[in-house]
């Protein structure tokens, strides 16, 4: 019974797939007319088939065609100028780039359709160009990093910024030194001169200068006198010594 039901179901599928012969289609029509349960099953499958056929398809990414075509010239498979090259160009599908790929994307030996060589394509075909761009970006970032490190080094050693732990106390405004103002006790009155105070001041300064010079001269005179006396005493002593020696 189940086998018969399965055969009927398989026939329904073949008819709905459009793969059944005319004879099979007519046979199913006859069975459906006599068997309401089979008709219900047929309708149910038909609805599922229609729903599957109507399912929205996935949209390919917008950049798929552009990325594929952009990678195409690198393949160079159809480029007639390649024959004139002294050395063959590197194959896009070669294994030379395999080290740069995610492990999951590195092919071993694919199950190939007949007529297709087993050399294995990789994701690198679209990444060959990307790797150049990535390397350029890496260099830019590396340069920026070096510049930042140099700036930090200059800031650290070129300027003597106090370290936070060395700074204590409160910051107060600087105060300029001011001498105490002259009071009344600092003012000494002298006898009024015939002339102005300015002349009196000059004369006092001259007097003080003369006094100092005189003191210096008298000191020098005293020193010379003392030296003369010392020399005389020395001479007298030598004379006395000679006399004593003669005696």
């Amino acid at each position: 019974m189940n086998d018969q039901r399965s055969r009927h179901t398989a026939l329904i599928h073949s008819v709905l797939d459009g793969q059944a012969s005319e004879a099979e289609t007519r046979a199913l029509e006859a069975m459906l007319a006599d068997d309401p349960a089979l008709r219900a099953e047929y309708d149910d499958w038909k609805r599922l088939f229609l729903a599957l056929d109507a399912m929205p398809r996935e949209h390919a990414p917008e950049g798929l065609v552009a990325a594929t075509i952009a990678a195409l010239p690198l393949a160079g498979a159809r480029d007639s100028s390649a024959a004139d090259q002294p050395f063959p160009r590197r194959r896009v599908f070669g294994r030379t780039l395999s080290g740069f790929l995610r492990p999951g994307l590195q092919h071993s030996r694919a199950i190939e359709p007949s007529g297709i060589a087993s050399s294995t394509p990789t994701r690198s075909v679209s990444m060959a160009e990307q790797s150049h761009r990535i390397m350029g970006q890496r260099k830019a970032w590396l340069g920026a990093g070096i510049a930042a490190a140099a700036a930090l080094a200059v800031a650290q050693f070129g300027f003597d910024f106090p370290v936070a732990k060395d700074v204590t106390g409160a910051v107060v405004p600087a105060e300029r030194y001011r001498a105490a103002p002259n009071g009344s006790e600092d003012v000494k009155l002298v006898a009024p001169a015939a002339t102005s105070g300015k002349v009196v001041g000059a004369e006092a300064a001259a007097d003080a200068s003369r006094s100092t010079a005189e003191r210096s001269q008298s000191q020098q005179t005293a020193d010379l006198t003392m030296q003369q006396k010392t020399a005389d005493l020395t001479m007298q002593q030598k004379t006395a010594d000679l006399k004593t020696a003669d005696q």
Partner: protein, 192 residues
């Protein structure tokens, strides 16, 4: 009984134009290859996505497939259909990536697998809800089931074409499709 409205006449392709584009590309016409990419980008992307269930991986595989076609265009045998050739490459590349990455059960972050839970019993769902439920159910199916359902319903391949792409006989294709649909239907028990 009315004839099925969704009978397949072959995968989405114009075989003669495909062959002509390949021939032009082999003569150095890169625009011809661009036309091939534009023509097949969506079917190839869908085939890859429904195997891998990750948009990023589907994008990568799609690029790999097209560039592989470009490099191996001379190996293409015009006596065969171009779409069968490129589909086979796409399915194999996607399966290879899936095997290598070993993340059969992982889903894309933006993949919505909810759907059938939201459907009540005997509920007549809208077309949009049905699509959402189907998508969620398919996301939970095995890779083999997803591949055959995708080729048949999204790429509209015939049994013969599927056999060519998957390198199995037509009888096996039919059996796999039958089983996949029954499992899919089982995931949609409340769906009416």
């Amino acid at each position: 009984m009315a004839a099925p409205t969704f009978s397949t006449l072959g995968c989405i392709s114009d075989e003669d134009e495909d062959r002509a584009l390949v021939a032009r590309y082999l003569r150095g016409d890169r625009d011809a290859f661009t036309s091939l990419v534009v023509r097949y980008q969506r079917p190839i992307y869908n085939a890859a996505f429904w195997v891998l269930r990750r948009h990023e991986d589907a994008n990568d595989v799609s690029q790999i497939v097209f560039l592989k076609v470009a490099e191996r265009a001379e190996d293409y045998d015009p006596s065969h259909k171009f779409f069968s050739w490129i589909y086979r490459i796409a399915v194999n590349e996607a399966l290879n990536l899936l095997r290598r990455s070993r993340r059969e059960d992982a889903l894309d972050d933006d993949t919505d697998v909810a759907g059938d839970e939201s459907a009540g019993p005997e509920r007549q769902a809208s077309a949009a809800e049905l699509s959402q439920q189907l998508r969620g159910a398919m996301m939970r199916m095995s890779t083999n089931d997803r591949v055959v359902l995708t080729l048949r319903h999204f790429s509209e391949c015939s049994y013969e074409e599927m056999a060519l792409i998957l390198e199995i006989d037509e009888k096996t294709v039919k059996s796999r499709l039958f089983d996949a649909r029954r499992r899919l239907r089982g995931l949609l028990q409340d769906w009416r």
